[in-house]
Amino acid sequence: MTPSGALALRAAYLERSLRPSDVVDAAIDQIARHDPNLHAFLYVGADQARAEAAVWDERYARAGSRETLPSLAGVPVAIKDNMCTRGVPTTCGSRILEGWRPPYDATVVTRLRDAGAIIIGKTNLDEFAMGSSTEHSALGPTRNPWDPSRVPGGSSGGSAAAVAAGFVPLALGSDTGGSVRLPAGFCGIVGLKPTYGRVSRYGLVAFASSLDQIGPFAGDVTDCALMLRAIAGKDPQDSTSADVPVPDYIAAIGEGAGGLRLGVPDEVVGPGVEPVVAEAVRHALDVFAAHGGQVERISLPTIEAALPAYYLIAPAEASSNLARYDGVQYGLRAPSEDLHEMYAETRRQGFGAEVKRRIMLGTYALSAGYYDAYYLKAQRVRTLVARDFEAAFRKVDVVVMPVAPTLPFAIGEKADDPLQMYLSDIFTIPVNLAGLPGLAVPCGFARGLPIGMQLVGRPFDESTLLRAAYAYEQATPWHRRRPPVAAA
């Protein structure tokens, strides 16, 4: 059996028991055989990946010591298809960008390449990252590797499915209201939404700019830490990226749960949570307690108002960001002799139902007569949500919640009921509104489906989240389980 994690691959490369070409060939073969059933990938750059792998084969053959090659040298990765890759199609899961090849790379893409990663391909998503199931992709849904009749979560469902299925050890997603954490939870893997500003957004196609953040998917906590280190840090191209030093996340990961104070909000153990999910999170807290963690009850009184506030703020920002898709500079254009008609027809033909719904909602919330009643009030709620967390972090180091209130749902189950779909993100959205880091880790299974636990931390304290998650992972077997497709 070949190793599956990024860190294990690197070790195998260094001891010459495996070459990057072997791993890239195997990944491309696995994708060709199994991805038609899952539809995680929208684009696979096989030739380019093989060429890069051959270069790393050579460098490993020449490298004597482990210090000479970068951290992800020869490790295959997948990128959500809303991050720009120069000359390689970037669709955002939308017809309006079909065929577009960006003229530049996103900063995260550049940083991954600098770290030696080999980009295998681009993954499926809800159109412009708007959704919780990856069903709103114009290119068709992605299926959950644990049960192909179910959704993988969204919007970064393709990246999560690609890692869970074992196609690649690492992938990037973006998270505006839960789009990394929800699919990580639904696919039984690790997914991190870093602190707002921790990772550059340059080249990430904007959805809601005050909330968007790029984050890693990995099979375990250590690999997640490895990928975060590679992409984090100040970027002159993104004025909102933070000038805060990037620690060596792996160095402190093994310090254990001893002395950690973990808070469970009273508000999230309510009736909306499926009993098997609540049970799994309760068990996880027992594990922390058994390993020296101190579990306390806390309160986030405004958490219920976070979801309605988000569905005013995020669409408002989206309606502005998506104004650029007008048929002028790139992508689709509906032919017309009249400029206004050209804009409006291009957007009618190019956008799917969910994107139109959010553009309409956001335009309404920002329009004259409604701005104060909706948008401004939502921004005031945002302040209260952030204050709730600030108060909590005066008592505890980590806030523990489920990732989602339910198990992965069936494809089609919520596709025509936007409000029900939105409720999937009830525990992830408050974290984006407050700009905090949130880490999803697998914490159990029910009916053969994975359950995710979410750990939320102080701004720029990803280290504590990774440390807590690693301690939990060492004490539990969940991260070693793989879905049937990966075992096949």
């Binding site: 002159p236 309605p308 790139y330 009618r348 309409m360 005031r380 945002r382």
Partner: protein
């Protein structure tokens, strides 16, 4: 809470979004439901709470004043639906002439 068709049309115009008759019906219904849900926040005492537009206090950030290569013009224009003489080409904007 229902949104009338006139409002849907007005918002669609502001968003430069053409709607089919079916879209208009569906959005009137769905937007009404979503806004009704969002209106829950009106019950909170918010008058004295300052709004947050961004979690990071943003001031104008300037890059070092150093010339760097721009995107390649031909590469950018090659992605445009229509271009001419180094410009994006669009339908006539001004009447007459």
């Amino acid at each position: 809470m229902a949104i009338d068709h006139e409002t849907v049309e007005r918002v669609a115009h502001l968003a430069r979004l053409a709607l089919t008759v079916e879209d208009r019906e569906r959005f009137a219904d769905q937007l009404g439901h979503i806004l009704e849900y969002c209106a829950r926040i009106s019950a909170l005492p918010l008058a004295d709470v300052p709004p947050t537009s961004h979690v990071v206090p943003i001031t104008t950030v300037l890059r070092a004043d150093v010339a760097t290569p721009s995107l390649d013009r031909d590469e950018v224009l090659a992605q445009a639906p229509a271009h001419q003489d180094g410009f994006f080409r669009v339908p006539r904007v001004l009447e007459g002439g």
